[in-house]
């Protein structure tokens, strides 16, 4: 019984605490309409790209690897998206183009990591900088602005904006994949203990490659969503690196303590969206935002490692 209570405390204290925190903010700043329908819609809209990118990163992290390339790739993909749509004014060609690029690059990274045993951390940093460089090259000629046609996509609504439904959909599918299918089960085993995976006859390399490909798909989706939301394109990924990381790590402090998990990542991404949105509404200086996000990252890493440690103590003693 005590164990059960402990388990629930470990798993659900964080999300509950977040809820309390948000309500407290609302009470303290009573003149900010945090919970108005319009604001909730805006907040969700702002969270979609973070949430999708973070979900992709979650797959990679669950397979026991890491990734930073998304920050640079995100910028590059939005630029390619703008160029393609401006040239052909076709939404779908653009989506297909950036999906091919994103999946291709992630496939390349995954092959370097699994076949040549490169450190995923180092490879992805290199890719991040390369993507940043290529993006800058595109900016040399003109300022890239998304056409109004594209932006009209963000106004499609069915109760909630289309892209929010899209986010809900990919999370639902991912929850199912990770927790209910053999692939998800194997993915978690590979990430936890590669020797156990070998013993269970799991092809770790294949699983990792798949994780990277899924992450690539999600990144392309996130970049498309971003393109429908913003006008001028310039280094979009720069603003995503921190919140995406923070969402994953923050998520790992809830539901499955000490482990990156789907629901946790979603709650993490939404929480960062709320904080971001809140800071905009009370008009804090823009330099405050990354400081707050960095703090969230540190706190979440601390929480996750405390939970991990408490588990280790259980084993040893």
């Amino acid at each position: 019984m005590r164990n059960k209570i402990n388990k629930y405390l470990l798993c659900y204290t964080m999300p509950f605490g977040l809820l309390v925190l948000v309500f407290l903010l609302q009470i303290i700043f009573y003149d900010v309409p945090l919970f108005s329908a319009l604001n909730i819609k805006n907040m969700l809209l702002q969270s979609v790209s973070i949430a999708m990118t973070a979900l992709g990163l979650s797959y990679i992290m669950m397979s026991g690897e890491g990734d930073l390339s998304f920050a640079g790739m995100f910028s590059l993909l939005t630029v390619v998206f703008a160029i393609v749509t401006n040239a052909w004014s076709n939404f779908f060609i653009a989506i297909i183009a950036i999906t091919i690029i994103a999946v291709g690059v992630n496939l390349m990274i995954s092959l370097l990591v699994t076949r040549l045993k490169f450190s995923s951390f180092i490879v992805s940093i290199a890719v991040m900088f390369m993507a940043n460089g290529i993006e800058k090259a595109f900016h040399q000629q003109t300022t890239l602005i998304n056409s109004e046609v594209i932006k009209s996509f963000s106004t499609i609504e069915f109760g909630l904006p289309l892209v929010v439904w899209l986010m809900a959909f990919v999370y639902l599918i991912s929850y199912f994949i990770i927790n209910k299918t053999r692939f998800g089960f194997n993915l978690r085993i590979v990430g936890e203990n590669k020797y156990a995976a070998i013993e269970a006859g799991i092809n770790s390399n294949k699983i990792k490659v798949f994780a990277y490909i899924i992450a690539g798909l999600l990144l392309a989706l996130a970049a498309s969503v971003e393109s429908t939301r913003v006008g001028a394109i310039y280094e979009q990924g720069k603003y995503y690196m921190l919140p995406v990381f923070a969402a994953c790590f923050f998520g790992s402090s809830m539901f499955v303590p000490g482990r990156v998990n789907v629901v946790g990542t979603l709650v993490g991404a939404l929480f960062l969206g709320i904080i971001d949105n809140f800071m905009k509404m009370i008009n804090v200086e823009s330099y405050i935002v990354p400081i707050v996000q960095g703090t969230v990252l540190i706190v979440s890493v601390a929480l996750a490692s405390v939970q991990n440690r408490s588990k280790i103590v259980q084993i040893k003693l």
Partner: protein, 501 residues
């Protein structure tokens, strides 16, 4: 013995670089037998089993399973054929439940969805067969090592293998659990499963095995029925020489008390333990897994902070501010239970491991004097007769017994007053064991106090001046090894409370 040959091994060779791990192994395993494979560390037993299981591909030779050539198949294919290997290392996923861990390799699915309900029924059946009851939703990380061993065993049995290989399954589990394991092996035999059993504990092999194969230097040198294999002959054959001194404890004049532990308490692991050790004395702490031996030893060394009680060295308390650093300073040495993670730096050389705590002997003005370092390491290596005799060898590629010799060896440079040894011979072959016993005897002769935490009763009787028996963190009895018997100690360890007063 009659019956079909299940596994036939023909001329298998396997090289790792210049090292011949397997040098032409021929072996037949018959249906429905319990076949022991014995040999020193590094004789090739585990390598052979990994090659049989498909993890390594042999450089030469063939494996046959029921006359079918299975050489070069992947581990997964070999499992599918019905050969299951339980490795020495527990490959578990800490954060997952017992249920998920047991079904790791074969989670049942309905369409594409995992079907844990069906899995549960299967797992319950296997656990009933083993005779163990688990709360399946608990995470495996929260289990004790011996419970984890049974989780791994259950995983191996879930697909009802024809051949089960157990690679030192009992090096980490207690006596009670070993009995349980043997019951399972006998039951499997009754159900027609062949078991290949690798162990260093020779006594136990005689309890449960039908046949014994002896390995030495990568070859199978003899196979006989257990009843035709006298124990001393077996040991001689394993080592390639006669084992003279086994328990070398000479009568040593004991001095004053070096260590006194007073009413030590820690959570529910240590419940008021008091004892003392004199100079020149070897005191054994004996008990099942979880009896509190490791916790007591770690408290003395300052790794663990006990809740209450006192520890006195030469009649001076070590508290407050006790730490391993201080322990070393006042002359306490520890050989920890888990040598792979606590006892050594696996990827460093033998030399580095030997000299790491002896820096002051080999450095001058904060600079390491390389010549001195090499000299010191070489001297120790010769003294300990570590094989191969190469101080630049990476320690984790040594066999377990040789690793342990290096770990003990680093404490022999400076004189220490008190040696704490936690399961010092676990997973160590009989030859190296004998050498380690010799070392311990010498330490006591030199006047140091020795605390030997062990679950090997023979070792305790053979080596020590005093045996303290622990049960659930309490001392149930203190016995004199000269007048006690193995059975007496065993009864205290297992059913302790009934006998205690």
């Amino acid at each position: 013995m009659t019956g079909n040959i299940v596994v036939k091994i023909r001329g298998v060779k396997k090289y790792f670089g210049a090292t011949k791990a397997l040098d032409g192994v021929d072996l037949e395993i018959y249906e429905n037998e319990v076949h022991a494979i014995v040999g020193s560390n590094g004789a090739g037993k585990s390598t052979l089993m990994k090659t049989l299981g498909g993890e390594y591909v042999p450089d030469e030779g063939k494996f046959y399973y029921l006359d079918e050539d299975i050489t070069g198949l992947t581990p997964f294919q070999i499992q599918k054929k019905g050969i299951q290997i339980v490795h020495q290392v527990l490959n578990i996923v800490d954060s997952m439940s017992i249920l998920e861990n047991i079904l790791l390799a074969s989670p049942p699915t309905k369409n594409v969805v995992l079907d844990w309900k069906e899995g549960k029924a299967k797992v319950k059946e296997v656990l009933e067969f083993i005779g163990i009851d688990f709360d399946l939703s608990k995470t495996v990380g929260s289990l004790s090592i011996s419970e984890q061993q049974f989780v791994v065993l259950a995983r191996a049995l879930i697909n009802k293998p024809k051949v089960l290989v157990l690679d030192e399954p009992n090096s980490k589990i207690g006596l009670e659990e070993t009995e349980k394991l043997f019951a399972v092996i006998r039951k499997l035999k009754a159900h027609g499963t062949t078991t290949i059993y690798i162990s260093h504990r020779i006594e136990e092999i005689y309890q449960v095995c039908d046949k014994i194969s002896v390995f030495r230097d990568g070859k199978c040198i003899d196979t006989r029925a257990t009843k035709d294999f006298p124990q001393d002959e077996l040991v001689t054959m394993m080592l390639g020489k006669k084992l003279d001194v086994f328990f070398p404890k000479a009568n040593v004049e004991t001095g004053t008390e070096i260590l006194k532990v007073v009413n030590l308490k820690f959570k529910d692991k240590i419940n008021g333990v008091s004892f003392y050790v004199k100079y020149g004395e070897i005191v054994s702490l004996v008990g099942a897994v979880g009896a509190g031996k490791t916790e007591i030893v770690n408290s003395i060394y300052g790794i663990l902070r006990p809740d209450s009680g006192d520890i006195l060295i030469d009649n001076h308390t070590v508290f407050p501010n006790h730490s391993p650093r201080k322990a070393i300073k006042i002359g306490i040495a520890l050989v920890p239970e888990d040598r792979a993670t606590q006892g050594m730096i696996g990827e460093y050389t033998v030399k580095n491991n030997l000299t790491a705590i002896n820096m002051k002997n080999i450095s001058k003005n904060s600079f390491i004097q390389l010549k001195k370092e090499v000299k010191l390491a070489q001297e120790l290596n010769d003294k300990l007769s570590v094989t191969p005799n190469d101080i630049n060898y990476i320690i984790q590629s040594l066999s377990g017994g040789n690793q342990q010799k290096v770990i003990i060896g680093k404490w022999l440079v400076d004189p220490y007053k008190l040696y704490l040894l936690d399961e010092v011979t676990a997973g160590v072959d009989i030859g190296a064991k004998s050498e380690i016993y010799q070392l311990l005897g010498d330490l006591a002769k030199g006047g140091a106090g020795v605390v030997l935490a062990t679950s090997d009763i023979e070792e305790a009787i053979g080596l020590s001046d005093k045996i303290i028996i622990l049960f659930k963190g309490k001392i149930v009895r203190e016995v004199d090894p000269k007048v006690t018997t193995k059975d007496e100690i065993l009864s205290y360890i297992m059913g302790a409370e009934k006998y205690a007063q």
